[in-house]
């Protein structure tokens, strides 16, 4: 290989296998038959030249240099000292890789030689729209409907501020007022319970109202306006207006 040939082939070089392919080609022999040492020598020579050209290429090639050196050492070693992969096999594999790269390059050449669209022939530059959209239908599947319902409900619920349920409690003041208003109308003994508002439905509300009513009744009894009576423990509480003392 002449120095001149090296300079020429440098132009298209991109990577180590590229280089090796060209080195192998310039030897005009199968890599299995060429002198690996000569190949390496040439490779190193190119590498030295290339270092002046492109640093990143030199870095890539260094990997291949190491590989080649190893391959060469393998070939030099005696056969029996070869426990794992033999160099012949590796060389064969490399040859196959180079051959494939060669084929792919030829394929690229073939493709470049084909009549190409946009260079040798042209397609319609302004294609027409052949699609006519019919937008009358709607996308409406059941899952979407159900999701929409659930989403709307959840959102509405989440939007409502939390308010604890207000308990309708009958206050003592209310009980007192009610008792005073109603007592005059009914003569004689009446069950205290009867003065409680009928609107109270839950047992809790009733009990609370009864307690308020009792306190109100006791208050009135203390003032002497009413009398209270209970026959037995937990029996009905009876109430009546104090009979007006004869003046």
């Amino acid at each position: 290989m002449s120095d001149e040939a090296l300079t020429i082939t440098l132009d298209g070089f991109e990577g180590p296998l590229d280089l090796l392919l060209d080195l192998a080609r310039s030897q005009k022999v199968d890599i299995r038959q060429i002198s690996i040492s000569r190949l390496v020598d040439q490779y190193v020579a190119v590498l030295e030249g290339a270092r002046k050209v492109r640093l990143e290429l030199a870095a890539e090639w260094l990997v291949m240099a190491a590989w080649l050196t190893w391959l060469k050492s393998r070939l030099l070693l005696p056969e029996e000292a070869e426990p794992e992969e033999d160099a012949e096999l590796l060389a064969e594999r490399l040859t196959e890789r180079l051959a494939e790269l060669d084929r792919m390059r030829n394929a690229a050449f073939w493709m470049a030689g084909q009549l190409q669209l946009g260079r040798d022939t042209f397609a319609r530059g302004l294609p027409e729209n052949l699609r006519q959209e019919d937008r009358s239908g709607i996308v409406a599947d059941l899952p979407a409907l159900l999701r929409a319902y659930a989403a709307a409900r959840r959102r509405a619920i989440a939007a409502k501020p939390y308010r604890p349920k207000t308990r309708r409690l009958f206050s003592v003041a209310e009980a007192l007022e009610r008792l005073r208003a109603m007592l005059g109308a009914t003569p004689g003994w009446t069950e205290l319970q009867a003065y409680m508002p009928a609107s109270l439905v839950t047992p809790l509300e009733r009990k609370a109202a009864l307690a308020s009513g009792l306190i109100a009744a006791l208050e009135e009894a203390r003032g002497g306006r009413v009398e209270l009576r209970q026959e037995i423990a937990f029996g009905p509480l009876m109430i009546r207006l104090t009979e007006a003392p004869a003046a």
Partner: protein
């Protein structure tokens, strides 16, 4: 100008207008034609030559372009159904009407927790998915809304009974409170 040159100019014009990605102006065409050819003369001749062919030369904004003949449009256009997606509001409204029908607009608003625009209701009406079901006998006599057979068809339902129960969609505890607060007059759907 020889006949052969003019014939070549015609060929070039046809190929160039075909390949160009925008209408070709006479000045632009002139650059491709043999020197000294009048582009307008070529275009006029080409237009005459293409008359009646499936592809005609037409003058459009900015120059000349080929267009397929109008009478062939029905044969070559492919109608593609592009169904519209219902907007979220419309879908939710439709779902509420489906589940609570017959239901008034104020009731829908209460259930959704948002006001309902007339346009949304109009869109559902126009698509034939909902219809009026009389008036509710309360002050103001608001219209009651319900779904149509078209609704069942659209969602592939045999009947409204095929809709999942609403308790299955909204967890009971979350749903209980606002649903119970609904006006007592709410008619029960034959859903369950």
């Amino acid at each position: 100008m020889t006949d052969a040159t003019f014939a070549l100019a015609l060929r070039i014009a046809e190929a160039l207008i075909f390949a160009s990605d925008r209408p070709v102006k006479p000045e632009r065409l002139a650059a491709a034609l043999p020197a000294g050819t009048d582009p307008m003369a070529v275009l006029t001749a080409l237009q005459a030559q293409c008359a009646g062919r499936p592809v005609e030369l037409v003058e459009v904004a900015g120059g000349f372009a080929f267009r397929t003949a109008l009478d062939l449009a029905p044969a070559i256009t492919r109608v593609v159904e592009v169904p519209r997606r219902l907007p979220r509001v419309a879908m939710e409204t439709l779902a509420i009407i489906a589940y609570h029908q017959p239901v008034t607009r104020p009731e829908i608003e209460e259930i959704r927790g948002a006001t309902l625009s007339q346009s949304t209701l109009d869109a559902l009406l126009e698509m034939g998915l909902v219809t009026s079901r009389g008036k509710k006998e309360v002050p103001g006599r608001p219209t009651l809304w319900g779904t149509t057979p078209r609704f069942l068809e659209q969602f592939g339902l045999k009947s409204l009974n095929e809709l999942p129960r609403r308790e299955e969609l909204v967890s009971a505890d979350a749903a209980a409170l606002p649903l119970e607060q609904k006006p007592a007059a709410e008619p029960e759907l034959p859903l369950h």
